[in-house]
Subunit: 464 residues, 2 copies
């Protein structure tokens, strides 16, 4: 390990899961007086999108509401494939818990590790980053922040900037003929907060990815009258229960009637929920530093190793991938960022950026060959990606886990969903770290469970 | 009249009612080759907040939805006190119409005059202004715009900038204990689109101004089960019908129960509609040019004659007032802006800005003496304000109307509302221009009228 003689100043933007992983990764270096860390968080609390608020639109500081979280959201993948290597669910809750926990459990777990790690002191809450620019002469970043509580603007300078502000906030909102005149309720999944208001209603859901699937299932669970899901390219094709059907792309809306590409239509719609995903929006980054992408890709363009800004590797972006892996992948990304920024490992010298571009292109080429509905292939891709960044890290400190076992867990999860979309969340998984250990199951199957509190969840665990 | 020898370049931001008034005011000057006009409009159509869209949140270009308009909105003041001097409702529709028209009628009227005036050619639609800065040396404005359709950024220079981008878009969202955990539907009036979804629901409405009153009445009309209106300082105190009551300020929300300052509470709430107004947000303006205000005032600070930026009168803001008068006031503001920018009249020479500041302070002092519930006094204030700006204009071209008669119309409108909040919209007013002419009435009283189309409205006119 090469230790540095002067402190590096490091700004992290966002105290969601990625920002928290990054703070923890740097913590030892901070104790060793190697870095001066600050994390700017626009919200009043940490946890990023895992924080629920009933609010939509604008908050009391006039800032856009960040979270797209809704009541009664349960994990849509087994907890075993996202568990932190250094902080297990069992360690946090004191008991082994079922594989698919509700939101509050995940929030408590993520922020529980952050509390245990004593990193709250680095975070400036209610602080929005307004601009980030890079000075090529001094090789420093100029960062403008706004203290929202006191309405003060401050101008700061850093050696490194790490963008961890997420990409599930700004709705991607396609246009459909007549939709702006729809006389019922129309919302994007970003503003969906719970199924209660859709009981006994006829819903149209537009989209064919995780939001569409999960919101459809939640509205089904709580008693929507009918749910029509419209897909653009590729249906999800689960064995949908009665009251749910999938149809091709919406062509137009006239009154309360929707017309689809196959010539069919649905009448008497009460509500349209547009689940067409989110846009990357890093508009506070100077144009020459701004990560842009159309859609949500497993291999983000312009980011070397999926992390470092191709033209200026003093700048990193965390978690910009479409994600199958989440918390554990963020930890590994954060480890590599730390190792590179502190000089523990070095990226190839590449002033012409050619090697970096070539590496990005190779990964992009692989993604482009994959069929959209081949979930296993995307899991292989992201598993290999993680293996690659693990191999770049300082091997003494990188958090490692058995990637083959994780990938096998992903495969089983996909199969469980294909087998039965109503029951996949009731399945217990084996721990990645302790393969003999299987999660307990809940007394109440997910489809009947309307208690998403931590207490309710823990009490529901079936004792053997 | 002093005519100028070179063309002035003028940018108008926004093609809502104010921007359209301004384009029409400049039109003659454009024909005379005195000005080069361009109006930037972020939306795909003109008419500003009068354009209805079912969308909330973000549009298909990723821009925030501008309008706070809802279905079944009817004018909440008599059309006679807003009518254009040079283009009457009767002229537009070919018949005399009742005093309180629905949205579509007003939209058709406003945009009808714009069409007749052939000003569409000046407007660049789907174009967002990203920054406005002023160069003290060249005395020119640098304006950055984004062509949203083609995703192109352009850098332009102008002699004058006129901000007409409105101030009913960014919600003012106060915080209340527990509100972010409310398990029902929570929305700001900006996102309210119609009463249908609130039929048979128990509503809490927070606010005591026009939005609160109108949304409460609309939800009442369409069949909300109960409506509780919570005020901060001053109740509206109309003779509310059954199912509507007013209570003091909300203290906290626990579950579906709201607790108020007088110790009372309301249970089983399905929905909270926050009607606490809007914030001025002109964040694309450089800080030294940016109009800011806390709240919505009849006398906007920093604007000389309620229009010209105190420190740099080459910059104008239109319609930044809290408004009793609207369309006709915008026309007069636009006339003064034209007269000043083209040198037809001159503002007092005031390099130290002292005279301008003094004038603003005098008007502010008058506003500050007024009691919030003294509507007549605010009408007097705005009437006097309009009289003042009329007196500043070129008297040969300023659109004039009888201000005493208009003010008397305001008084009667306030009294009608106090007499009966359910029937005030059924009252016919006399024309300001032709005082012997009284508006017809509708066959269907407003409280029973659920047809807000132009056709329905015109057909409903009672023939004598």
């Amino acid at each position: 390990m090469v230790h540095l003689s002067i402190k590096k100043t490091i700004a992290i933007i966002g105290a969601g899961p990625c920002g928290l992983s990054q703070l923890l990764a740097f913590k030892q270096a901070e104790q060793d007086q190697l870095v001066e860390l600050v994390c700017f968080e626009r919200q009043a609390e940490w946890g990023g999108l895992w924080q629920y608020t009933a609010l939509t639109g604008t908050d009391s500081c006039g800032e856009p509401i960040h979270s797209s979280m809704y009541r009664q959201l349960w994990s849509n993948g087994p907890k075993e494939v996202l568990e932190y290597v250094d902080y297990t669910f069992e360690q946090h809750f004191g008991v082994s818990i079922p594989s698919y926990p509700p939101r509050a459990v995940l929030y408590d777990y993520i922020t529980g590790r952050a509390k245990a790690g004593d990193i709250r002191k680095f975070i400036q809450f209610r602080t929005a980053v307004r601009s980030v620019d890079f000075d090529d002469n001094t090789k420093k970043f100029h960062v403008t922040i706004e203290d929202l509580t006191n309405q003060l603007t401050k101008y700061l300078t850093f050696d490194h900037v790490i963008v961890a502000s997420g990409h599930y906030t700004i709705p991607n909102m396609p246009d459909f003929e007549g939709i702006s005149k729809f006389p019922g309720r129309l919302l994007h999944s970003h503003d969906y907060r719970g199924a209660d208001e859709f009981v006994n209603k006829n819903l149209l859901i537009i989209g064919s990815s995780y939001s569409a699937e999960d919101i459809a299932m939640q509205c089904y669970k709580f008693g929507a009258r009918s749910i029509t899901i419209s897909y653009r390219s590729c249906p999800m094709s689960f064995r949908w229960p009665d009251r749910i059907k999938e149809v091709p792309l919406l062509q137009k809306i006239e009154g309360r009637t929707a017309y689809f590409k196959d010539g069919t239509n649905v009448d008497n719609l009460d509500c349209i929920i547009v689940c067409t995903g989110y846009r990357h929006n890093h508009s506070y980054m100077a144009e020459n530093l701004r990560f842009r992408t159309v859609g949500n890709l497993y291999v983000p363009p312009s980011l070397y190793k999926g992390i470092f800004w191709y033209a200026e590797p003093q700048l990193a972006y965390l978690g910009m991938q479409n994600q199958l892996y989440t918390l554990n992948m963020f930890d590994i990304q954060a480890a590599l960022v730390r190792d590179v920024f502190l000089g523990y490992v070095t990226l190839p010298d590449d002033k012409s950026q050619k090697q970096r571009q070539k590496n990005i292109s190779e990964w992009q080429a692989r993604e482009q060959t994959l069929s959209l509905d081949d979930h296993e292939a995307f899991s292989d891709l992201q598993t290999d990606y993680i293996r690659d960044i693990v191999s770049c890290c300082d091997q003494n400190t990188v958090p490692k886990f058995d990637l083959e076992r994780s990938n096998a867990g992903m495969y089983r999860f996909f199969q469980d969903k294909r087998d039965n979309i109503l029951t996949y969340r009731d399945q217990p998984f084996h721990s990645i770290f302790f393969p003999d250990k299987e999660a307990p199951i809940s007394e109440t199957p997910w489809i009947k469970n309307t208690d998403d509190s931590i207490e309710g969840f823990l009490q529901s665990i079936k004792t053997v």
